[in-house]
Amino acid sequence: MPCPDPFHFYTERRLVRLTGRRARTLGELQRHLREVSGASVFYHTHHAFLSHHFQRPVFDNDFASWTKEALQETALPEQLAAVDLLSFTAIRPIREALIAVIERHLAAGASADRPCPPGDEFHFCESQSFVMPTGLVAATTRDFFRTMARVSNVSLFFHFFEARLRLGRTTNDFSAWLAACGDTQRARAVDRLDPYLVSLDELRQQIIEIGDTQNAA
């Protein structure tokens, strides 16, 4: 079955904007989380995947890292890291899930006012994204998997991490296109990959291997 349209690989470059908001306590973190832009929530839950592409994520989001390192919390960082980003297709439920975790923790008796050490405040940032075509285009599924080796980490990030939030569905650009080409088996295989548990380099390799497996068959 021919593909209805070629796949155009896009990339994205970001500038980081500083909001001027900072939190010293869990209470302040919760309050700002309610008020900051969606771009800020996205930045703090996702930027580490791109800036630390060579390693597997430990605590995946800045909120988990900060509550662990600056506030010396123990269970809360784990609970924040456990918010299943893969299951969300919009920023608002991510924000609500994070707030709910903090609220439960406070309701269980944690202090909302214990400050972090001076200099360890949480500074809210947000992304301004600039989306550009890469010039890489795949007309067929064979082209697609061949091209994957040349796709940058940033492009991978755009099509895998941001796609779900952009498309509003629990899939990524690659799977959506492969399915439209009639390659439902590999579309599902790619869709089953969990980008939150591997580095971007590993994710690319996994996608390539899916293409190789089908070719071998």
Partner: protein, 413 residues
Amino acid sequence: MPPSLTPFVRDYEPIVGPEVIDELRVLADRVAGRRLQNINSTAVGGGVAEILTRMVPLLRDLGVDVSWDFIKGDEAFFNVTKAFHNALHGAPESITPEMFAIFEATTEANLSEVPLTGDVVLVHDPQPAGLVRARRGGGQRWVWRCHIDVSAPDPRVWDFLRPTVEQYDAAVFSMPDFAQQLRVPQYMVAPSIDPLSNKNRELEPGHVDETLAKYHIDPARPILTQISRFDRLKDPLGVIAAYRLVRKRQDCQLVLAGGAASDDPEGLEVLREVREQAADDPDIHVLLLPPFSDVEINALVRASTVVFQKSIKEGFGLTVAEAMWKRRPVIGGAVGGIKLQIIDGVTGYLVHSPEGAAHRAMQLLADPDSRRRLGDNGYEHVKQNFLLTRHVKDYLLLMVALDHLGEHIVRLS
């Protein structure tokens, strides 16, 4: 050693890959026809001049219409701005109404001297900040680029500057900690290193050994190094204390290398204290390096087994990125921009005390695999986030962003 020549954009391609260079060309095309005018206070000396010296030719090579202009000022003006600089860093300074008057008068004089021809005017640091009052209409954009650690500024000076900064279209700071309460958008653009500069480029064979021989450092034994000017905030005495703890268990040498300007009495005092602490230990090498010792610094870092940057307070701390670029494992104080560069346990170690520094150094000296892992991760982290090409990209994106300040996603065809 030959000085590093002004490189071309293509010279960076083997380092960062063709895709990064292609993107720079796409972004440069995007801003074609717009002039980027940089304005600072001096062409020589200081970090701003150093970065613009490398960046402006690269932008030109990309086809960007870019210029670099300077304000003029007398000794009184630069004494005032030095005091403002220290005060913005949070240091105690005597600030008088006369100082503000001098600043205003010099700004006024420069308004008729400096041609403000840019479509985007990028003003660096406080000295030229007041030029914004001459902004013309018709789409001219002004950006204030602050290179200073203003996380805890003296309110007298900041309150004086803020109304001026709020006349800009945007402000840029080096770290989230430096963000202020401003009525204009604020961006973060981290500093960067130039992989092709004398301080960071690959060295000719034998140069490292020559440098070690010059300073009587034994290449066959482990070397712990800190490269910093002699300043209490870099905690050189804490580094010596850490070294002494390590020496109880493991053989090693310590190199403390840096400069101290002759007009910096405190720096010379710290150097004296360091030499006293080093006493007659032949394995502590306290090196007072002259200006323009970049190649020797390069060699010393490359020779090191472990690099310290055990600062007590730090703005950004590019010495960390410089060491990581050379695949050296870095142990850094958990302060300032060091925390952006060192991911604890991944690209280096963050510590809070001489004991912590010693503990990590002992671990690393005993474990070559860990040293290699941290070194390789550090290199990748710098390559992704702290190279000059990223810095150029950010400024080009900023030029685009100035027409899209309210948008989170901008689609470029």
